[in-house]
């Protein structure tokens, strides 16, 4: 029994999951109906559904970010890419004679996604071909990208009146929010492609030692192109969801600071910024922790002035619990537990 417990505590997702449960408990105390999920107007309705729906864009970006970070990289431009894709889609829909038609929306969404691929290839080019440090390379698009989005929207908030587009952000399919379904598909595909093939291992090997993996025959350059392009693609999907959620492209605020949330989700999930081993499941838990944290602030009624301090405190606790020193201290406890368990077996 204690051996099982020791194993659970040792799991790298233990502390993030504990934090998530603590946050759930706080919410439940502040608001007893927190776990209630009802069906309203033919769709699921409840706080947990909100957390999943509002957390979907962060999760989608964090999935892309996980792979980038696994190659020892980072992508700061995701927020700007999200803003660009939203701006592109909305300006196309606004410019068309039939903003409400499905074909218009399909074109708008496809163009936005295609542009994101170009932006991703640009990031990949800077990192893989020119060898610029990822943090600098993606910083370029992070700053310039918002300007581009601003040019597309001409500094206005573009409001679109297009039911099919709005559906992307606030629609439901069999009662489940579309955003959650999209996030599940992105997450599932990423997990399937990188974990059911050798691709994930290649990505990790590039992150651990690019030179050694190149000599072993891994095409690091192509892989880097692929992960940055995928990350930008994820950012564009998230940007479309965020924009469709309010049916308005706001070049200034769409996806603002979402890169930080995504990176945080990856880190909370136990993936090291130094590259190498990554955990998509960890990223999922990380994204949920972040979104639950936001909801907790609202349900508990933490005053806005103290919000940042509260979030910082929670994140600090998670990071401290995950640090190697803390892990070391806990492994001592674990060894004792395991020892006792071993004795128990011997005695019986």
């Amino acid at each position: 029994m204690s051996a099982v417990l020791a194993k659970v505590v040792a799991h790298r997702l233990f502390w993030p999951v504990v934090m998530l449960l603590i946050l759930f408990t706080i919410n439940l105390i502040a608001f007893p109906g927190f776990f209630t999920i009802s069906v309203r107007d033919g769709h699921l309705f409840g706080s947990l559904i909100d957390i999943l729906r509002n957390g979907a864009p962060t999760l989608i970006i964090a999935v892309g970010m996980t792979l980038v970070i696994a190659t020892r990289g980072i992508d700061l431009s995701v927020g700007a890419v999200a803003a660009i894709s939203g701006a592109v889609a909305c300006s196309i829909i606004l410019g068309s004679p039939e903003p409400g038609s499905l074909a218009t929306v399909a074109v708008a969404v496809s163009v936005a996604l295609l542009i994101s691929l170009v932006l991703g290839v640009w990031n990949g080019f800077l990192v893989a071909v020119l060898g610029i440090q990822p943090i600098i390379a993606t910083l370029i698009l992070m700053t310039a990208g918002r300007g581009v989005a601003m040019l597309i929207t001409e500094g206005q908030i573009l409001t679109v009146n297009s039911p099919p587009f709005k559906f992307l952000g606030s629609g439901f399919w069999f009662g489940v929010p579309i955003a959650v379904i999209i996030a599940a598909v992105v997450f599932g595909l990423a997990a399937l492609i990188t974990r059911r093939t050798a691709l994930g291992m290649f990505i990790e090997s590039v992150g651990i030692n690019p030179e050694a993996s190149r000599q072993a025959g891994v095409r690091a350059r192509g892989l880097l192109f692929a992960v940055y392009t995928f990350c930008a693609f994820c950012a564009a999907i998230a940007g479309l969801i965020l924009t469709a959620n309010t049916a308005a492209a706001d070049a200034n605020n769409t996806g603002l600071f979402i890169e930080l949330d995504a990176i945080l989700a990856v880190v909370i999930g136990g993936t090291s910024l130094a590259g190498g081993r990554y955990s998509l499941l960890g990223t999922l838990v990380g994204a949920l922790v972040i979104q639950t944290l936001v909801t907790t602030v609202y349900t508990v009624g933490i005053p806005p002035i103290a919000t940042m301090v509260f979030k910082a405190a929670v994140v600090t606790v998670v990071c401290l619990l995950q640090s190697p020193t803390t892990a070391e201290a806990f492994s001592g406890v674990r060894r004792r537990l395991a020892l006792r368990a071993g004795k128990g077996v011997a005695a019986s």
């Binding site: 502040a30 608001f31 109906g33 309203r40 107007d41 309705f45 409840g46 706080s47 909100d50 509002n54 300007g147 601003m150 001409e154 500094g155 206005q156 908030i157 409001t159 606030s170 965020l242 959620n245 309010t246 049916a247 308005a248 706001d250 200034n252 605020n253 769409t254 936001v294 909801t295 602030v297 609202y298 349900t299 009624g301 005053p303 806005p304 002035i305 919000t307």
Partner: protein, 326 residues
């Protein structure tokens, strides 16, 4: 003509750079003809529809008056605005007008303007400085008054309320002057009726997404809410989405009061989804021209000039909507 002025300005800058600049702007030499006046305006940036309307109005007002306007866009960054103001000082413009991005940190550059004898006018946002001689006039809305107007409507709407009225407040960006003042004015007025109670107050950062997310969460923890007071239209529009998603009717089941009166907000008001909007007008151009003329004539404009603003009910919105510029 513009080119010539450009060359002249560049020349003036060179002279200034060479260190031959004489202290004191043109205004000291008595009134100039209007077409010789040059005004430098440092805008915050194109942050919203409101701001764009503000820019357009100022530009067209100057064009109409025949006064040359040098315009710069700071992209929401204080350092850019300071750079722009410094360049206006070097170009020795007659008046500098600007809308400060943030409240603090302006003393140094405003002192430079003062030393160069160039009068400064603040538009729409104030600066937080102990030395109020650094600017000649502050033209803009009275945010506390806006909050009071919103509170007044709520007070009258629920004058006969016997049961407690639950209010959710969607605050602007934490620390921003409009957010602080609109909350203050509102709280002051609704305090008259103890039945009116703000049960939750959270920031939605002046954005639609923020307003939507906060409202979603607050509707669940406060199911009995009667009214939402949002510090700007955008957050109110986000709240409408959240209310509709909860299967309720915005404007009926839950009433909404906002501040700003931008076109999208007015449309929602006309559609009956918002109940009342307090205007915060971006159309300051004409009043700014008046101030510039006064300064040119050697008169001292009033230190605090409040923008002419009104309020809109649903019926008034339907009438006003066709002519709405922004």
């Amino acid at each position: 003509m513009k080119k010539l002025i450009g060359i002249a300005a560049a020349g003036a800058m060179l002279v200034a750079l060479a260190g031959c600049a004489s202290a004191g702007g043109g205004t000291a030499d008595g009134p100039k003809p209007l077409d010789e006046l040059v005004v430098g305006f440092a805008q915050v940036g194109a942050e919203s529809g409101w701001r764009t309307a503000n820019t357009k109005d100022i530009q067209s007002a100057f064009e109409e008056a025949g006064i040359e306007l040098k315009f710069s866009d700071a992209q929401q960054k204080q350092e850019n605005q300071i750079k722009a103001i410094r360049s206006y000082i070097q170009q020795q413009v007659d008046v500098i007008a600007f809308s400060p991005v943030v409240e603090t940190g302006w003393d140094a550059v405003l002192n430079e303007a003062k030393a160069a004898g160039i009068p400064v006018v603040l538009t729409d946002r104030a600066v937080d400085s102990k030395d109020d001689s650094l600017y000649v006039s502050f033209l803009g809305s009275d945010f506390v008054e806006e909050g009071k107007k919103a509170g007044q409507w709520v007070l009258e709407e629920y004058a006969d309320a016997t049961e407690p009225v639950e209010i959710i407040q969607l605050e602007g960006t934490t620390g921003a002057a409009p957010a602080i003042d609109r909350a203050e004015g509102f709280a002051e007025v609704i305090a008259e009726n103890p039945a009116l109670e703000v049960v939750a107050s959270q920031t939605g950062d002046f954005t639609r997404a923020g307003g939507k997310q906060v409202t979603e969460a607050l509707l669940k923890s406060n199911p009995g809410v009667d009214l939402i007071y949002a510090h700007n239209d955008d957050m109110g529009l986000g709240a409408i989405e959240a209310i509709e998603a909860a299967g309720l009717v915005p404007g009926k089941d839950i009433k909404i009061v906002t501040v700003d009166a931008v076109k999208d907000g007015m449309q929602a008001l006309a559609d009956g989804k918002i109940n009342f909007i307090v205007e915060c007008s971006p159309l300051l151009g004409k009043q700014l021209i008046e101030i510039v003329k006064q300064i040119n004539d050697g008169e001292a404009p009033e230190k605090r000039i409040i923008t002419e603003e009104t309020t809109f009910t649903q019926e008034q919105a339907i009438e006003a909507l066709p002519d709405r510029q922004y």
